[in-house]
Symmetry: C2
Subunit: 496 residues, 2 copies
C-alpha cells in the first residue's frame, strides 16, 4: 500500500504523532503482557528472510504497512531481552525511564563528538558518570566517558596501556621494530573474550595474552600471576597490563583486585578492571567491598546497560589519567578545530560520532534514585542466593560454582547418578558425566521450549552447566521460582 509521502523532505509531524502514539501503546502493551510471546524465538534459520522481499521497495510504503509487517514478520523472530523470563547470558533490560530517555535522544539526534556540537550532551555525560562513580563508592579522580560496550572500553584500555610504555607506538607502530620487546598482557582463564579480541586488534596477538589459572572458585590465582610475570621477564617479554574481573562472565567470580593491584604497582603495569556486569553491584553500599582495590586501578568499565536498567548501549569507561587517554587517541583535523577549553569526547577514544547516551542514564538515575537502584540490585542478589539455596537443598541438583552475585551456575545431578559417581572408576565416571552433560543440555532446551524463560549454559571444569542470571529489572521472585519449577519438572521427566 502506498501513502501520501511528500515528494521531498521528511514525513509530516502529524504522521509522526499518529504512529508515535501507536508505538507508545504497542510498547506499553508489550511491557505489560510479556507472556504473549515466547522469550526465546522459535524461529528457524532463514524463516524471517523468506518473508522479506529480496529487493528494496521502489515506491514508498505506508507506516501502517510497516508496523503490520513488524508485528507479523519481525516480532515472531525476536528473542525478548526485555522480558522478566530472560535469564540467559547477562540480560539487558530497558526500564521505563531508560526507554523514555532513549526516545528523547532519538528525537533530538544529537552527536556529542565535540563539546560545541552539543554542550549539554558532553556536560551531562561528565556529570552523570560522576554520579555513577559516587554511587559505586569510588574516590574522586576517576574520569568517565561513555562507549557502546565493554568490548570497546577494554580495547581502549589496552591501547592506552600500550601507549604508556613510552615506546612511541602511537607514532612508530609495532611492526618491524627490532628494538621492541614482545608485549604481554595478563588475564585469567575466566576473563571475557572481548579482552583477547581487543588484544588481537591492538596487535598484541593471542600469544601476547597470558591466561593465568584460576583457583577453585574461578578467581585469578595471584601467586600464579606473580610467577608468570617473573617467568616472562626472565624470558625477555615486556609485561604491560593486567585485566582483573569483578564478576566474570561464566560464574561471576571476583578476582582479588587488591593483591593484583599490588603486583601491578611492583611491576609498573596498567591495571584494567572489567566490572561490566558485577561492578554495578557496588551501587548497593553494602556491596562496595567487591570494588576493593579498584581505587588503585588505572581504568575500569561498568555497563549501565547490563545491570542499571538502561537499553543497550551504554558502557561507562573510567580512567584515572584522561590526559594519557587523549594523548593516545587525539587527532584533530582542521574541520574539527574549536577554540573552547572544554572536554571534546571524540579525543577520548576511537569513535567520532557519539550518540547522546547520557540522557537515558540521567533519566534512570533520577527516576529510581540511588536508593531505588540499590534496592533493585539488592533484590536480585537476594534472589540469586535464594535460588542457590534451593539448588543446594535439592538432592537432584548441584551448584557448580559459588554465587557471589546474582548469577547461579548449577546442574541437574539426580541422586542415583550422584551416588554412582562417588563410587565410579574413571571410565564409568566419564560416561556418567557425558550423560549429565546431555541431560542438562536437554533440560535447558526443554525449559526454553516452554517460552516462559530463556536460559543459557556454559562449561565449568568441563561440565555442562546451567547458568541463570538475575539482573533484569522485571525479574522477580515469581520468575525465579517458576524457572526452578520448570527445571525440576523437566529433570523429573527427562531422567527416567
Amino acid at each position: 500500500m502506498e501513502h501520501n509521502v511528500p515528494a521531498l523532505g521528511d514525513l509530516s509531524p502529524d504522521e509522526f504523532r499518529r504512529y508515535g502514539h501507536q508505538i507508545v501503546e504497542w510498547v506499553a502493551e508489550y511491557l505489560e503482557h510479556p507472556e504473549q510471546y515466547p522469550v526465546l524465538s522459535p524461529s528457524r534459520p532463514g524463516e524471517v528472510t523468506a518473508q522479506l522481499p529480496i529487493a528494496p521497495p521502489e515506491r514508498p510504503e505506508s507506516l501502517e504497512t510497516i508496523l503490520a509487517d513488524f508485528e507479523n514478520v519481525i516480532l515472531p523472530g525476536l528473542t525478548h531481552w526485555n522480558q522478566p523470563g530472560f535469564l540467559a547470558y547477562f540480560s539487558s533490560s530497558a526500564s521505563v525511564p531508560g526507554i523514555l530517555g532513549e526516545w528523547l535522544s532519538a528525537g533530538l539526534n544529537v552527536n556529542a563528538m565535540l563539546w560545541r556540537t552539543s554542550p549539554a550532551a558532553t556536560e551531562l555525560e561528565n556529570v552523570t558518570l560522576d554520579w555513577l562513580r559516587q554511587m559505586l563508592g569510588l574516590p574522586a579522580g576517576f574520569h568517565g566517558v561513555i562507549t557502546d560496550g565493554a568490548s570497546m572500553s577494554s580495547p581502549l584500555a589496552l591501547a592506552v596501556a600500550r601507549e604508556r610504555l613510552g615506546l612511541d607506538i602511537r607514532n612508530q607502530g609495532m611492526a618491524g621494530r627490532s628494538e621492541l620487546p614482545r608485549l604481554r598482557l595478563y588475564i585469567s582463564a575466566e576473563t571475557h573474550s572481548s579482552v583477547e579480541k581487543g588484544a588481537i586488534v591492538v596487535g598484541i596477538g593471542r600469544q601476547g595474552v597470558r591466561a593465568v589459572p584460576v583457583d577453585q572458585e574461578f578467581r585469578m590465582d595471584v601467586t600464579a600471576l606473580a610467577r608468570a610475570i617473573e617467568e616472562d621477564l626472565a624470558a625477555g617479554w615486556r609485561p604491560f597490563a593486567v585485566v582483573a574481573t569483578v564478576g566474570t562472565t561464566a560464574t561471576t567470580s571476583i578476582d582479588p583486585v587488591p593483591e593484583i593491584a599490588a603486583i601491578c604497582q611492583k611491576h609498573d603495569l596498567w591495571l584494567h578492571v572489567d566490572g561490566a556486569y558485577g561492578g554495578m553491584a557496588a551501587v548497593a553500599p553494602e556491596m562496595r567491598h567487591i570494588l576493593a582495590g579498584v581505587e588503585q586501578a588505572d581504568s575500569l568499565v561498568v555497563n549501565p546497560h547490563k545491570w542499571l536498567f538502561l537499553p543497550v548501549d551504554c558502557s561507562a569507561f573510567y580512567v584515572r589519567d584522561p590526559h594519557l587517554l587523549r594523548r593516545t587517541f587525539s587527532l584533530v583535523p582542521d574541520y574539527l578545530q574549536t577554540s573552547e577549553e572544554v572536554t571534546n569526547y571524540m579525543d577520548w577514544g576511537v569513535q567520532l560520532g557519539r550518540r547522546f547516551r547520557a540522557l537515558k542514564l540521567w533519566w534512570v538515575i533520577r527516576a529510581f534514585g540511588h536508593e531505588g537502584l540499590a534496592a533493585r540490585l539488592r533484590e536480585h542478589l537476594r534472589l540469586g542466593q535464594l535460588l542457590a539455596n534451593w539448588v543446594d537443598a535439592d538432592p537432584d541438583f548441584e551448584r557448580l560454582a559459588p554465587t557471589p552475585l546474582s548469577t547461579v551456575c548449577f546442574r541437574a545431578c539426580p541422586g542415583d547418578v550422584a551416588a554412582r559417581l562417588t563410587q565410579a572408576g574413571p571410565e564409568e565416571a566419564a560416561g556418567l558425566e557425558a550423560y549429565l552433560d546431555r541431560l542438562n543440555e536437554a533440560l535447558i532446551e526443554a525449559a526454553n521450549a516452554t517460552g516462559e524463560i530463556y536460559l543459557s549454559g556454559t562449561r565449568l571444569h568441563g561440565r555442562y552447566t546451567i547458568r541463570l542470571a538475575i539482573n533484569n529489572v522485571r525479574t522477580n521472585e515469581a520468575t525465579v521460582a517458576r524457572a526452578w519449577e520448570l527445571l525440576r519438572e523437566a529433570a523429573g521427566r527427562l531422567h527416567a
Copy 2:
C-alpha cells in the same frame, strides 16, 4: 518532588503510557517548529553543569520533574542536529520513520550479538544491507554488517587487511618480531582522521600511514601513490592497504577509485573505500558513477546515519570476504557457543553487544522507497549546485573547491580585496589572506549567532573556508537561500 515509584521492579506501563505520549507530542512539536531554538547552542562552558546537582539523587524523582529539567536545563545546551539549518560538518538527520524505528528498537531492547539472541535482528540486518547494496548499484558479493560509525568500520578494515598479510599477527602480534617488515598504509592528505586513528589502534602507527598528495581538486594523486609504493618497497616497507575516499570530509572530493584499484591489484593491497557520506549519493541511479571501481574494493563503508536520514548510529560496512573478516575477529567462548549454521554478527567485528539498528534502516527504506530516497538525495545535490552557482556569480565571494556533491566550500573575498590580491607582492598578499581568514571566521560566527543556521569551517590550501553541507532531510531551498542571504548581509556589514 517524589513520586510513587514501586519499591522494586520497573515503573508501571501506565506511567510509560503517560510520559510516552507526552514525549510524542514534544518531539512532534520539536520537529514542527525548529525555529523555536537556536541551531547552535549559545551555552557557555560549565553553564549546564552549574545547574546540575553535584551528587546523584538519593530518592526517586518524578518523570514530570525530569522532563521539566530536560526542557529547562538540558535543551538550552543542545545544538540541534535535526534542524534544517544545521549545515555544519556532515549533518545527521533523523527522519520520522528513522525515529519511529529507533523507538521500537529501544522498547524491544534486543541484542543482535548471536543469531539466536534474536534471529529477526540478524536476518533483517542481512536483508536491509543487501537492499542498500542494490540501491547503491553494487554487484552481489558484498556482505554487510552494521557498526556504529565509520570510525569503527575503518579500523575493522585495517585489522582484516593486516590479517590478510599471512604474517600470523592475530596469533603472534606485532611487537618484538624481528622478522616482520614495517607495514605501510596509504591514504590521501584529505582522508578522514578516523583512518589514521584506526592505524594508531591496530599498531601501524602514524608513521605507518603515508599521506599521498592530492591534485588541485583534492583527489588522491594516483601517480604519486604508485611512486610512493615503489619507494617504500625499495626501502623495505611492506605496503598492505590503501584507503580511497568517495566524498572527502573537507571538500567531498572523489578519489579516482578505478585507477587506485588497479594499483592495489598490481601490488596485492587491500582496498578500503570510505564512502561514509559521499558514497550514499549513488542511491540516485544517475550518480552511480561515483562508485566506479568500488566493485573491485575489498571493503566499503557508507553511513545511513549521515545521508539516509537515520538517527545516529548506523554505519554499513561491506566486505567481499566475510570469511576473512571472521577469521580476524572470531573468538567464541563456551557460554556463547550455539549449534545453528547461521550468521553470528559478533564474529564480524569487535563489538559483542549490538543494538537492533537494522529496524530503523528497514523503516526508512520502506517509508521513502528507493525512488523517494533518490529524489531527496537528488534535491540535495541540486541545492549544492545552486549555491555553488550563487557563489560563482557573486563578485564578493569565491569557491575554494569543486562541488561534486552537496557540500560547498567557499569564502567571502570582497571585490576590492580580490583586486588588490591580483597585484600584491608576497608580503601584502599574506596580509590580505590573513584578513580574509579573519573576515570569514567572523562571518561564520555572525551567521551562527543568528541562531538560524549552523556552519563550520575548515582550511584549504591554508585558507580559512566556509563549508556548507546539505544532507539534512529537512533542509530545502529556502534554508539554503536564507543561509546565503545571512552570509552576504554579514559580509557587507563586516567588510567596511
